[in-house]
Amino acid sequence: MLEISIFFILAAFMLGGSIAMITNKQTLFSAFGFLVAMIGLAGMFALLESRFLALAQIMVSVGAVVVLSMLTILTINAKEENLPKEPHKYKWIFFTSVLVLPFTFLLYKTLTLLPQSFSTMETITSKVVGKALFSEWVLPFEIISILLLSAMVGAIVIARKEIVKKEEHS
């Protein structure tokens, strides 16, 4: 009973945060909605006894993604009058959410087909995750690392190019 009520509270946090993120005009409040949704997701993981994933969620999504996006918001410092006008905003939101509804069902079906170990409420510690990553899933893990590395190098190259150009101009 307690678990179900905690689940509903967390779900309310996630839904409310997501809706606030999409509908808010002020970018910082959107970031706050995103933060609330991410913390709710971490709470979901913790509720599933997957402590490692819960903390990884907070560390990556909150500690890195939200902080970086908020830094971007700070540097842009968009004023309300400079924002683009969106007259049919809510209609668009409704339309796209109806459009992605079939994919949600697809996602639900795939999730129910996942191995039984996810549903047996066993505590998933960092040791279990590490062993699974470096034995069964070592190839996808390495491919993702290469992908991330190339993305990082690409970002550095894109950032560097402009500096070099500026120096040439001066």
Binding site: Q26, F29, V62, G63, I73, T125
Partner: protein, 431 residues
């Protein structure tokens, strides 16, 4: 859950809350007195309640009363988002407070084959918890700085955010080197690893096993907690008070206390990871339990010596100048405190004598050892807090570009090299 488990959980949680919250007034007082020491003056020492000054700690309570009674002022230019403006300092404070809860204060108690962790949150992934929760703290700073609608606040928040982002990398990488060395992410197991010896005679403390990573860790934690020399986010010579400019009264106090809790947490992490945590060098918990009578007789000799030195020092210093006629209740305070100290010493001695010569209970012995470890932990914590404060009042503030330069050009490559060396050594030793 047995009664012992519930008791241990409640006591360690209460201990964690006390150590995190009750040290704030002490730390504020220490900050001012150490500043006075460095600048060759006295610092606050006059405030008293009925003659009791306690060296000036009472000043902190006067501060609290002042902050509570101050006018709650809201900048009128904040149109929407007042609730977030108020919530921002609370985010910072709560993150720092929660991060402290993963620190073990004593070794695992074993009562009837049941191991009880003396840790507010009995988790075995403390390092991860600290890294995850402490990264939330900067969000409060960014929200507060942005919602103040003030250029100084915005600059301070941007500085704090980018500094924390850039110093999280060396922090995480230096901690990774420790994780490779200790082969665990559990704070308790880290302390247990450090109770051994290194090269046969040195205590196996992190600072001796991993000197480079230790220095990077300390520097990165200074930056993470916004302490000098990394106070660019609130540099009053450049940007007034940074992100706190528009904050008043208790809202300001939340930021202020959050900084001290974060500093306390950082010192706790430092002593747990690289200074042997709750243990005294060369001596492990097992050794203390096996040679309990030797340990308690040594304690019986050492405690009166320390107390008598303290009492002498107090009697010499707690008095007014000879030219002042009224003594302001200082003799009375000295008398009461002396009696209290002697009484406490007698109680400790009586308990130790009872444990050594009369009772033959291993349970009481292990509880005594755990209490001793808590005391050792608190002493180490306070020493490291004083180190933090001394650094603040001796080193000038870095310029902002110097801070970023240090982080990206020196600490990050050094931490990466250190990981490679550590991995090579660890693999080489295990071959």
């Amino acid at each position: 859950m047995t009664l012992a488990a519930i008791l241990a959980a409640v006591i360690s949680f209460a201990l964690g809350a006390l150590l995190a919250l009750l040290t704030i007034p002490v730390l504020v007082w220490l900050e001012r007195r150490v500043a006075g020491l460095v600048q060759d003056r006295l610092g606050p020492n006059r405030t008293n309640i009925g003659g009791f000054r306690l060296g000036g700690v009472v000043q902190s309570f006067a501060d609290v009363v002042k902050l509570l009674l101050k006018e709650e002022y809201y900048p009128s230019h904040i149109k929407n988002g007042k609730w977030l403006f108020m919530l921002a300092p609370i985010i910072t404070f709560a993150a720092a407070l929660l991060a402290f809860m993963a620190i073990p204060f004593a070794d695992t108690l074993i009562i009837n084959n049941e191991s009880l962790r003396i840790q507010p949150l009995p988790i075995d992934f403390g390092v991860f918890w600290y890294l995850a929760i402490s990264s939330i703290g900067v969000l409060g700073v960014i929200f507060g700085g942005w919602l103040s609608h003030n250029k100084y606040s915005l600059l301070g928040a941007a500085r704090a955010g980018s500094m924390v982002v850039s110093y999280e990398l060396p922090l995480g990488l230096s901690i990774l080197a420790f994780i490779i060395t200790y082969d665990t992410i559990d704070f308790n197991a880290m302390v247990a690893w450090q109770s051994g010896t290194f090269f046969g005679f040195l205590p196996a403390w992190g600072i001796l096993v991993q000197p480079l990573a230790s220095i990077i860790l300390i520097v990165a934690l200074f930056a993470e907690t916004n302490r000098n020399p990394f106070t660019v986010a609130e540099g009053e010579s450049e940007i007034v008070a940074g992100f706190m400019t528009e904050y008043t009264a208790m809202k300001f106090a939340m930021y202020f206390m959050g900084e001290y809790v974060a500093m306390n947490t950082a010192s706790a992490v430092i002593i747990t990871m690289i200074f042997g945590g709750y243990q005294i060098p060369w001596v492990s918990t097992q050794m203390l339990l096996e040679n309990f009578s030797t340990f308690s007789i040594t304690l019986m000799i050492i405690v009166p010596v320390i107390v008598s030195v303290l009492v002498r020092w107090m009697q010499k210093n707690n008095r007014v100048r000879p030219s002042v006629s009224t003594d302001g209740g200082r003799n009375f305070e000295t008398k009461v405190l002396t009696l209290a100290m002697i009484g406490m010493t007698l109680v400790v001695e009586a308990i130790l004598i009872y444990l050594v010569f009369l009772a033959e209970s291993s349970l009481a012995n292990s509880i005594t050892v755990a209490l001793f470890q808590v005391v050792v932990f608190v002493v180490k914590l306070m020493i490291f807090n004083i180190f933090f404060i001394l650094i603040r009042w001796t080193v000038p503030r870095f310029r902002y570009d110097q801070v970023q330069h240090l982080g990206w050009y020196y600490l990050l490559p050094l931490a990466l090299i250190n990981i490679f060396i550590t991995a090579l050594v660890v693999v080489g030793v295990s071959l």
